[in-house]
Symmetry: C2
Subunit: 461 residues, 2 copies
Amino acid sequence: MKRLFLLAFALASLAFAQPATHDPAALRDAALAGDTIAWDFAEGLTTEVGQRLAGTEAEARGREWAMRRLRELGFANVHVEPFELDVWVRGEERAEIVSPFPQSLAVTALGGSGATPARGLQGEVVGFDSLAELEAAPDSAVRGRIVFIGHAMRPAQDGAGYGAFGPARFRGPGVAARKGAAAVVIRSAGTDYHRNPHTGGTNWPDGVRAIPAGALSLPDAEQLQRMLRRAGERPVRMRLTLTPRNLGRRQSGNVVAEVPGTDPSAGVILIGGHLDSWDLGTGAIDNAAGAAITTAAAHRIMRAGRPRRTIRIVLFGAEEVGVFGGTAYFERHRGDGNVVLVSESDFGADRVWRAAFSLAGADTALADRVMTALAPLGIVRGRDRANAGADLGAWAAAGTAAIDLGQDGTRYFDYHHTPDDTLDKIDPAQLRQNVAAWTAMLAVAANWPGEIGRTEPRPAR
Amino acid sequence: MKRLFLLAFALASLAFAQPATHDPAALRDAALAGDTIAWDFAEGLTTEVGQRLAGTEAEARGREWAMRRLRELGFANVHVEPFELDVWVRGEERAEIVSPFPQSLAVTALGGSGATPARGLQGEVVGFDSLAELEAAPDSAVRGRIVFIGHAMRPAQDGAGYGAFGPARFRGPGVAARKGAAAVVIRSAGTDYHRNPHTGGTNWPDGVRAIPAGALSLPDAEQLQRMLRRAGERPVRMRLTLTPRNLGRRQSGNVVAEVPGTDPSAGVILIGGHLDSWDLGTGAIDNAAGAAITTAAAHRIMRAGRPRRTIRIVLFGAEEVGVFGGTAYFERHRGDGNVVLVSESDFGADRVWRAAFSLAGADTALADRVMTALAPLGIVRGRDRANAGADLGAWAAAGTAAIDLGQDGTRYFDYHHTPDDTLDKIDPAQLRQNVAAWTAMLAVAANWPGEIGRTEPRPAR
């Protein structure tokens, strides 16, 4: 009911909703030619703060840095909304083949990994080429051993490889633990051949105690597979040392900033990315880039005049370790009743190549208008419904309209969750293209003269 | 005089020097189409032994592995010629920015680095963009500080960037030490943007005590430069922890194997690569590949029948840490008087693109014949004289004829001396092209009916 009332109010205010200065094409082309705000934001955050593991003082410094920058840029209502979470931190990490081919392998602990004794844990390695193969194995093949899980993830423009092969990380260690494994090492959920393993969270099923769980780089995973082949009947024995610790409850928070709209009844557009990162790199593509792109685009709208709708940027905390910031924000604000559209940037800094929409059936004209503004950037229209990413996905699932500006993910999983996620992986020209696409989309959506309606709810991903 | 006598003898035996089975084109094409020996050698050595730091038990296992493999392949006179050297091993390595932007940087110790206290050494960083800039600085700008040395090395097909910018590593730490620096970190002598710093030896001038000397990866070197810019007047303070140790005298050795020739008076062709590697990777391109390529090519000649000249493979020990194996071999055998041609493979596993020669003036026909055999592989003739690489360069400098089969080095310094020097960096097709080029060259040179003369001596590089 409230929504219908807002609709009536919105229609009444239609006449003065679209400032002439918010021409999407002009704003888009200006961003493409010369945006510097996004680069400066990404460079500053990654250089002056560096890694920003959720719940640590580094993440807190990241919030302070972001609030200072957002205020300098002139945004309104800059503040932090705190929440708490359990914090896990990395310790020592070593994997050594003891026999028959003594040598070290490059390993890193998965988020949530259990710990080995300080001096490590030694066991025989049993290898599986896929999660399915592990699942099919009898417990007796696994019990007391160090399980290796391989997979065949390849680069894909839309990132589909992560969904298909990522479960080796998300679920594999839990499966191994349930079968009685002493520890587990997976082939990193990544696509590069550098000896920087990919970390990332793993999930333990209810009632299953966390065992030590690490990821090997691809060169090391293949080295281990060669060893298993060449060893023949001889057991391959590994000493694994992973000593992460749980620090208990710590504070994180979401940083919020706004471009105030002229028409409170037209609703709020919620955009953003996440401010935390894994601890190995400086979180440049994951996700200083997303924070930078959405900030720069909102700033370009703000400089051009007040839009009809308020644009709210949320830079979420603690995404990597379990979407704590996104969940906290949704729980706190789902009842506000004023969020009409959500859109998140959290897939690197390479060019936007595809847009997807989740809009009410009556709102096809909005999607068409957005596509008209995006097409000169080489962006195509996707067939799937927008899902709004990890931090804003709950909104889309609950029926809030959503737009995804999908980035090219071909090289994303070369760097994702590795020490290599650093500023040099951001291509300034592609970053500007992102800002241009976001600016064009926001120029259309924030000034859209009609209502932006709700869609059918659907199961959360 | 001995040489002239050998010449007369060689001419006398000309008639039966060239078995019909040693057709260079046929041998070349067979290698290109189907060589598996080189790959098996490289895979076996890097998988079953892994890293092979000079003077360690791992390098000794490498010698055992190589001798076993060379005997299995049917080579004659397989043996090791031992020598001793001082051994340096890596310890802990950490670089942390203390202020104003606290975070960790990826660092590795350079070979021969001095050690910090176990808990590290803290100092203000003073940055120089080049070795020349450091050299021009007054001692007062350096004294007691941690010196950072940058450079502008870029990829080059012939590896020229290493000669031009490598001195930041070879000499830079010594220059900093002489000016009173507390420690030094350089931008790695490399061309990749992965957070795997490049190690490699550094040289301390006489009378200068070794200080802690590390290399930052390129992303970290650029991060430090950004910090120095963004810090303005604030000092950038680093805590550097490098705890390498000197183990004293240890044994290394050169592994030798032969394809016996039919004509002892025609002299010996000396080929090979080095068996040791740095300790960070598994030494696949540096230099399991060179050992594998020369072994496979010599084996193809051997299988085709006895060549006129003996081909001797030497897999040198302790090249990385100061060419100890090459020097020991030269000192021991320079007086033998029977080595007529030297050629080394030590620049990775990418395709041979250029051949260079250092031959007596009368031997242009030999070079022409070699080029005829190489041209179908897309190999061009270089203008510079062959220098025969680090381990065999002393022979070429002393006047022994030499042929260089120059490999494409465009991506060599992406991996050189890093953890990323692993088997996956070898492209099997390009490896076969190397074997094909070496087989063709050896088929021509080992059966060359004339004498292979000596050249003018020149200064060693």
